[in-house]
Every structure is written in C-alpha cells, then in structure tokens.
C-alpha cells in the first residue's frame, strides 16, 4: 500500500493498494462530496482506464482539491506503487502559446511557494509579486520530492500567474537536472532558480542541457537562470557564475545557508553576510547582471522588512525574496524611487535626448557633465518609476 498527498485544505490524500476483485474500488470522503464527489470518482476512474494495471482500491480524503491537484496526486501515488510504469496524468493547459518572457524585467519581489502545497499556489498571483517561485528544494520534504515535481508541473500548466514571472527552484545540481524535463515540457516556465551555485561551469552546462532539451521537444524559447549564491565558495565565484552564460538574468543571495556555511549565526543586522552580499553585488554588476537579495524571514515585522529592503537597495540590490504575500507590498514600497530621484532622472533623460538631437557626444546637465553610466541609470530609474505609475508632471 502507498499513500500520497496531504489531508489539508485544497489538497487530497490518497491511499492506494492492489485490490483482489475484478475492478477498481474508489471510496470518496470529501468536504465537497455532495457537489464534487461523483466528479472526483469519475476523474480517477477515467484516468485509471488509460493504464494497464491490476485493479486498485483507492481511499480518497479530499478537502476541495482542484482537478490538477487530484491528477498530480493520483499520478504520484500510482508511480509509487508501480515505479516502472511510464505515464502522465496531465491536466488541460489553461494557456495558449506563450510569448518569450523578457530577460530584463523588474524582479523586485519573488514569492516562494512550497512545491507540495497547492493551497498556497492558487492565489499567489493575486498579490502581484514580480515573480512566483514554485519551490522544489528546501520547502519540500525529501520523501515528497516526487509528488511535488508532478504537482508543480501540473500547476505550471493550469494556474494563472497574472503578470508575475513563472519561476521554479529546482533541487541542487546535479539532482536538479532530473527535475527539468517535467518542468520544461509544460512550456510554462520563464526562469529557473538554481540553488547553491558554486561554479560557472555548472550553470553553463545547465544552460546547455536546457537548450538541448527544448530543442528535442521542439520548444523555441529562452529560459532564464537565476543562480542562488549561498556558500563561501559561491560568493568567491560570483562573477564567474554571473558571466557563465547569457541566460543568467540575475544573481540571488541566500543568507540562511550562507551563514551556516561560514559557521556564523544569522542576525537581524546581517553583519555576518555584509561582505558576502557586497561581493555578490560586485560580481553580478561586473557581469552586467542585477543582484537580488535574500529573503527577510520574520513575516510579522514589516518595519524590519522595509529597512532591510532599504539597506539592500543601498548596497546595490534590485530585489528581495519573500515567503509571505504580505511582504510583497512592503518590498515594492521599499524599491519605489522617490519623487526627487524621479525628477532628477527626467532631467538627465531630457539632457541626453537634447544632446543626441544636436549630435553632441557629451551630455551636460547645467554645468555638470554626465557620464553614460549615469544616463543609463536614469533611464532605468524612469522605467522602474513607470511601474509605480509615476508620471512626468
């Protein structure tokens, strides 16, 4: 007998065993039995029919799971019972052909959602994070990795991500390579987060693997990579990692594992990671890639979060991780340009445009000469301000 899933809201728990009789037996217990009991039973039977397997007895304990969850749990359960069986219970894709996601885009907030918890996935986009990460790594228990991968695959096919970037954090390499086929085949992912990145070579190979796989399944698109630096070695190799391939869209920091790695305690002030974070910023910037800061783990402390965002911004980071939807608004607030900065940027832009029109090689604001990187920064700031709806007066 095997079991799979969770007895918790918007999820389904299945106990599956071989049945002596001639046909499958499905026993349904459900919080929505009156309204969806028959449907759940039919869905399970209809999919079992596709397989050449002996009769099963399945005891279902459902708490309002949606179909993509039911299918994922059923597939994971049957694969646990028959490890050699090759099949997939795919839900109907809810989106048409997707356009190529841009490499450069705001990644101020990225919301981690545990890959084995459907109830947290369904509404994540409503809180408008710049990215939603379906996590296969730390938030998934080792015994549930198989189930989480199937659930995340189905979620990528079905769920609304709104304007948020679709991200998946795979397991550490090389194990993480095994996560990729299921994820890539959905054609529903924009960006892969790679935990504990320590060598540029690994990221280069990963990129190659992805390209070859996409080629094989006939998908034409770029998948962006966000390596996460969370060790001493990773920090020292930040530039190498950031410049390993053109698919790297940003470089993220993971404070929790980093502090463990250097034998320190994580503190509120974060002095233990100050140098490392700065080095990461240098490495990333040198490679022309935006650096992104770690998560702030106290979900009750909004003031602490805001000052942490301000600090990250001052160090050169462009984004912050979050583990609770309520953190998103605070993070966005923290990265919002001030009116002064915005006005300054507009002036620079105007001066730049005027100079260009006149064919001048040098941009000047009043009596001050402005270097190209400053112009670039101003243009970027205006783009960011646009997200906040800031407008030229």
């Amino acid at each position: 007998m095997v079991s799979v899933g969770r007895d918790s809201k918007e999820d389904i728990f299945l106990k599956i065993e071989k049945e002596e009789g001639q046909q499958h037996i499905i026993e349904i217990e459900s919080s929505v039995k009156n309204l969806f009991g028959k449907h759940i039973k039919e869905l399970i039977l209809e999919n079992l029919k596709k397989l050449d397997i002996p009769p099963l007895r399945i005891d279902v304990k459902d708490n309002g799971a949606l179909d993509f969850v039911i299918l994922a749990r059923l597939e994971a359960g049957i694969k646990r019972l028959f490890p050699d069986l090759k099949f997939k219970f795919l839900p109907e894709k809810s989106f048409e052909d997707r356009i190529q996601a841009p490499k450069e885009r705001p990644r101020r907030s990225r919301l981690y959602v545990p890959g084995n918890q459907p109830d947290l996935m369904i509404n994540a986009y409503l809180f408008k994070p710049d990215g939603i990460i379906l996590d296969l790594e730390d938030s998934v228990a080792p015994s549930e990795k198989d189930a989480a991968l199937i659930l995340v695959r189905n979620a990528l096919m079905v769920l609304d991500f709104g304007q948020s970037e679709r991200m998946v954090r795979i397991n550490q390499l090389p194990k993480g390579l095994k996560d990729l086929p299921e994820i890539l085949e959905t054609d529903g992912v924009d960006c892969i987060l790679v935990p504990k990145a320590e060598r540029g070579e690994d990221i280069g190979q990963l990129s190659l693997f992805i390209k070859e796989y996409l080629n094989k399944i006939g998908v034409v698109r770029n998948i962006w990579l966000m390596p996460i630096i969370e060790s001493a070695l990773g920090v020292l190799k930040a530039y190498e990692i950031a410049s390993s391939c053109p698919e790297v869209c940003s470089l993220a920091f993971g404070a929790e594992d980093f502090t463990k790695d250097i034998g320190a305690q994580r503190t509120r002030e974060g002095r233990e990671s100050f140098v490392a974070r700065s080095m990461l910023v240098l490495g990333a910037r040198a490679a022309g890639v935006p650096p992104i800061d770690t998560v702030f783990s106290d979900v009750e402390d909004m003031e602490g979060l805001l000052s942490s965002v301000k600090e990250a911004q001052a160090l050169g980071f462009e984004g912050k991780g979050c583990i609770h939807p309520r953190q998103i608004e605070v993070i966005h607030k923290g990265f919002k340009p001030t009116e002064e900065e915005f006005q300054w940027a507009l002036k620079v832009k105007k001066a730049y445009e005027e100079a260009k029109e006149k064919g001048l090689g040098v941009v000047a604001l009043g009596t001050k000469m402005i270097d190209p990187p400053v112009v670039e920064r101003a243009l970027k700031l205006i783009k960011l301000a646009e997200i906040y709806g800031m407008k030229e007066a």
Binding site: N34, G64, A65, N123
Partner: protein
C-alpha cells in the same frame, strides 16, 4: 402542496403550517393593512411586587403552557446559552408537544433540540437553522415547515400578528423582582437585549430568567418590568467565554485581507469615505473596517455612526473619535459589552429601531455603506445567505436582509470556498432581490450591478479589477468546475424564506439523500 410563482419566478407555497402566505411581489410592493398585534390588557391587581416564582416549571404552568403554543426566546448568549436546552427538556417532561419554537437565532450548542424535534415536542422552528438542525430540516424530518426571517422580519412578523408569541422567555444577565432587566451587568453580561424586546412587547406572557437578581430598580431597564409576568432565578444562564463570538479575530488569510483592502479602496473611490457603515464580526468585515479607518485618518474624515455588532475594533474607533456613535444590535466581544455599558455614545438598539420594515423608517435606511457576506450570488445579482449550493440550510438570515437597504451595499467573499464557487448561474435560494446588491467584491474581480450606472461611471478610472458579474462566474467555473445540482423533491417544501415585509421570497425543498 400547491405552489405559485412569486414576482421573482420562485415557486412558493400558499399555505404553511396552516397559515396563508403572501408571495413576494417586489420591493415595497406589499403594503399591509389593519392594526398591529396587541397582547391582552393586564391589571396591576394581578401582579405582586415580587414577581418571582420558585422555578421555570412553575412559571410555565402559570403561563398556561399547552400543546401547540409558540415560544419565543433571544440568542444574545449565542453559543454560551444555558437556557434553551434545559427549557425543552422541561417542556418534554411536562408532556407538552407540538410547540412552535421561535428563537431569534440558534447555535451549535442547540443541537440536542433535534431529539425534541424527533419526539414531537417541537413541531417546527421559526428561526435560523444551521448545522445539524439545518440538515434535519432540509432532509424533511421536521413535522412542520421551517420559517426563516431576518432579525427585522421577526419583529415585523410578531408586530403584524403573523407570528403570535404565547410565551416569551427572556434570559437576562441582570434583573430585579419586577422584571426590569438588562444585558450589560453580571457574570453573564452579553451586551444589548434588544432582540428580546419584541417578545416582551407582544407576547401574551413574559418570563424573565436571571442568574443575577439585583435590588429594584435594575438600571438601565432595557426590558421594562411592566411588560413582565414572572421572574425566575437560575444558577447560571450563560457561559461568558462562549457568549462572545469566535469570529472577532482579524483574518490572517492574505486573500481575505486583499478583499478587505479592495472594499476600503472601493468605498473611498466611490465617494463613500466618511459615510456611516455597518460592521459585523467575521474576518473580512473586521479587516475592512481597519483599512477604512486608515483611509479616514489619512483624509481626516469621520463617520457619523457605525452599526454593530460591536467588537474591540469598533470600540477603538469610537474612542479615537473616528466614528460619532456605535448603534449596537449585539456585542461580539467583551470590549463591546463594556463599552455599551460605560460609553454614552455606544447605544443599544433593537430590531425595531434598526430593522423593522413595517415602521415609519428604520436605522438601516440611514446607513451609508453595508458590507455583507453571502453563500451564493448569481449573474442576476440575486443573493443567497441561507443555503449551501448542495441545497442544505447552512445559515440564518440575521440582519442581512435588513442591511441591504444601505446607500452602498457590498457583498464580499472569496470567489470560491474549498472548490465551491460563490458566484453562480442561479442561486439555490433567493434571499435578496437583485435590485439591492450594488457591488460584489472578490479577490479575482469586482462586479458592479449594471443598475448602478452612477457607480460604474465613478469607478471608470479605478485601478481596481472591475469586471462583469458574468466574468466572475466564468472564472470560478473555469477554476472549480461545475458542481453537481442537488437532488431535490419539488413536492416537499421544508422551509420558507420570508422577505422583510412578511412575503415569501423563496422556498427550501427537501433534499433527497442518496
């Protein structure tokens, strides 16, 4: 049973429990005639100074209790009530049967009443039926047909003589030997006793039960002693911890908080910031008040009053001066009870002053914004608050129907709960006609009733996700799928839903269990 279609096209019975019924005709279309119900004229010579009797049994006997009578009682002790269950055990021991029971509401603690429904001590219930009692009724096991009314509707029915209370029983946290009583003093303090005023005013006989007899005069006397026949002392009439409702915590659910933020933003952008509002208990209601208060502070505006259910949060706003008065129907926590007792700007109201439709105006008409929940809303803006999509009775109406008359009535809820869509093609039971619901606010979109062209115009440039109600229906359907329709026996009504004017707006039919 002969059924007719009312003006909303819903099938309703013409006779229920031996009484003729009037089908719903439209809002304000039914005008009653005649005079109000009046109890018999009493004489002081029949009443000793000390109205105490030795036991509830003696009081019931003196009231002349007999088969087929109607007993009314209030629900201010909520789930901490210690009176109703023993009362019916006693009535059962006395060999009385076929009682019509007309409480202002019932709670999970009252599940044992099922035994008395089964044995025939209680013939039927006229009041809210939730949980197991709701299931019992919906499966057609009750002898009579249930009658569900709003809080205001109960007053209206008693006043109009539709619901004649033979014996009104009033558990009171403080009372004196004359029967003067209030709800704010003593170990079982529960807040206002306003719901009991209808029984006190119109019942033939009135019994006050207290576990806190105070010397005459019991001040304030929300229930005046001149309306009371007998006073009974009891050891304990309520469990204080359970008297306060469990729904007074602000929700932590990010989705519900998002809905609450949308509500506050909508209210401001629609031009209702600073209007009075109705605030209930329950996650979204409490949370929106917080967000609304922030916006009021930022803009420096105050609301002239708020209508409770009072809670700590509302009391804080009163103390901060953000609202002028709390007009309170019931207190949901002890802060509410204390404030009602001590703060002269926290006023107790009854369903008569607040909600009765057959009066010369009521407070609900003066409320600016009302935010309410619902079990279902359909694409025509008809709303349901009593049954689940599986056809089972789930909730009472409470003040819900009465507070739909605010200037801006908002229904707010997550688009689906545990896979069950809330925006549906057609509601299972109509509790509100479509004209009164102005806006539906969910986490996945906000739909404005097309009849409110002014609101649509005002919200034209909002960044809120304004959509059509049909869009919400389709989104919910796409995510959840289509639920099975319940199998119902259209031959057998098990309960009727009254509109605020006493007409029948819809029928709940028996569910056929598989």
């Amino acid at each position: 049973m002969e059924l007719v279609k009312n003006s909303l096209g819903r099938l309703v019975p013409q006779e229920v429990n031996g009484k003729r019924q009037i089908p719903f005709k439209g809002i304000g279309a039914h005008k009653p005639e005649g005079r109000k119900w009046s109890p018999p004229i009493p004489s002081n010579s029949d009443y000793p100074k000390d109205k105490r009797v030795s036991s509830l049994k003696e009081a019931l006997e003196k009231c002349g209790i007999r088969d087929g009578m109607t007993i009314g009682i209030h629900h201010h002790f909520r789930d901490g009530d210690l009176v109703i269950n023993p009362l019916f055990d006693l009535i059962s021991e006395m060999g009385i049967k076929d009682i019509t029971f007309a409480p202002t509401a019932l709670f999970p603690t009252h599940e044992p009443l099922i035994n008395h429904l089964e044995s025939g001590v209680i013939h039927h219930i006229e009041g809210s039926m939730n949980g197991p009692i709701g299931r019992f009724c919906t499966e057609g096991k009750m002898r009579g047909i249930g009658v569900l009314r709003s809080h205001g509707g109960r007053w209206q029915a008693i006043q109009d003589g539709e619901l004649k209370i033979d014996i009104g029983i009033i558990p009171a946290p403080a009372a004196d030997i004359m029967g003067n009583a209030n709800g704010v003093q003593g170990p079982s303090a529960c807040g206002p006793l306003g719901f009991a005023l209808a029984d006190a005013t119109f019942a033939d006989k009135v019994i006050v039960i207290t576990d806190n007899l105070v010397p005459f005069p019991c001040v304030p006397w929300e229930i005046p002693g001149m309306l009371v026949d007998y006073v009974v002392e009891a050891e304990k009439i309520g469990i204080p911890e359970k008297i306060v409702s469990g729904t007074t915590q602000i929700t932590k659910s990010p989705t519900r908080l998002l809905i609450a933020q949308y509500i506050a933003q909508f209210i401001e952008e629609a031009g209702y910031l600073g209007a009075s509002f109705q605030a209930g208990a329950g996650g979204i209601s409490l949370a929106f008040v917080q967000f609304l208060a922030e916006r009021m502070k930022a803009k420096g505006v105050k609301a002239p009053f708020a209508r409770g259910g009072s809670t700590k949060f509302l009391v804080d706003l009163l103390n901060e001066g953000l609202i002028g008065y709390i007009l309170d129907g019931q207190s949901f926590d002890l802060d509410g009870v204390k404030s009602l007792r001590d703060n002269p700007k926290h006023i107790s109201t009854s369903p008569f002053t607040s909600y009765n439709y057959h009066s010369k105006g009521n407070f609900a008409n003066y409320v600016g914004v009302s935010v309410l929940g619902a079990t279902e809303v359909d694409i025509n803006f008809c709303a349901n608050v009593v049954t689940h999509s599986d056809g089972y009775l789930l909730h009472g109406i409470g003040g819900w129907q009465n507070t739909l008359f605010a200037d801006l009535t908002i229904l707010a809820f997550p688009l689906f709960r545990g896979r069950i869509p809330i925006v549906v093609e057609e509601v299972t039971t109509v509790c509100a006609p479509p004209e009164l619901i102005d806006v539906v606010i969910t986490e996945r979109g906000i739909a404005i009733n097309p009849k409110r062209e002014d609101l649509i115009e005002r919200m034209k440039n909002s960044n809120l996700p304004i959509v059509k109600i049909e869009d919400l229906y389709h989104i919910a359907k796409k995510i959840c799928g289509t639920p099975e329709k319940p199998k119902i026996n259209k031959e057998k009504p098990v309960a009727i839903i009254k509109w605020v004017d006493g007409t029948v707006i819809d029928t709940v039919f028996q569910i056929i269990k598989e």
